[in-house]
């Protein structure tokens, strides 16, 4: 049982770290603002989500697990709102030029 938990943790945290890598490389390499925003939201939502998913089997109690999930949900809501706002600012900035 403990082995299964550890395997879930290793797989999910590795996938999450990969998405952070993808987000950072995308931010460095993609050509314009909107594609970079696309790369960023993948790291925000999937990277953090997979890290939280990987930490859930290691959580001591139900309350700790719920707290981790609620941080991810907050991250999702904030990421969705902020990326819409930033995209609007970027478009208005382009229109103003």
């Amino acid at each position: 049982m403990s082995l299964a938990r550890d395997i879930i943790t290793i797989v999910a945290v590795s996938a999450g770290a990969f998405f952070f890598l993808a987000g950072t490389v995308g931010l460095l390499r993609f050509p314009d603002t909107l594609t970079r925003l696309h790369a960023l939201t993948k790291a925000d939502n999937l990277g953090l989500g997979l890290v939280v998913l990987g930490l859930l089997p290691q959580a001591g109690s139900l309350r700790d697990g719920l707290k981790l999930v609620s941080i991810w949900v907050l991250g999702l809501l904030a990421g969705a709102t902020v990326s819409q706002l930033i995209a609007r600012t970027a478009r208005q900035g382009e229109a103003a030029k």
């Binding site: 550890d6 943790t9 290793i10 945290v13 590795s14 999450g16 770290a17 952070f20 890598l21 987000g23 950072t24 490389v25 931010l27 460095l28 603002t33 970079r36 925003l37 960023l40 790291a43 925000d44 990277g47 953090l48 890290v51 939280v52 930490l55 290691q58 959580a59 700790d64 707290k67 981790l68 941080i71 907050l74 991250g75 904030a78 990421g79 709102t81 902020v82 706002l85 930033i86 609007r88 600012t89 970027a90 208005q92 900035g93 103003a96």
Partner: protein, 96 residues
């Protein structure tokens, strides 16, 4: 398990350092703000991992605070951008 999670923290912190490079090289303010957003998210992930590795439950609360602050930083940036754009817009129409 502790070793693996510590290595994951190190990896994510290295990604954050790369994010700082992208702040340095970014062409515009929007891109810098996006890099700051990525650093916020990565910081949350690193804190959650560290809290589990070292069994310090308070680190999770710090991560929660960081999630809130990163959001408000971006919203403040957008509000500032909007007000300056509005100022530019009225200035240009008055000029015409």
């Amino acid at each position: 398990m502790t070793e693996f999670l510590t290595a994951a923290v190190g990896f994510i912190l290295a990604m954050l350092a790369l994010g700082l490079v992208s702040i340095l090289r970014a062409p515009g303010d929007t891109d810098r703000m996006m890099a700051a957003q990525l650093i916020g998210t990565g910081g949350i992930a690193a804190l959650l991992l560290l809290g589990t590795v070292t069994e310090v439950p308070a680190a999770v609360d710090v991560a929660l605070t960081l999630a809130l602050l990163a959001t408000f930083a971006s919203i403040a940036f957008v509000k500032k951008g909007l007000s300056s754009l509005e100022a530019d817009g009225t200035g240009s129409t008055e000029g015409q």
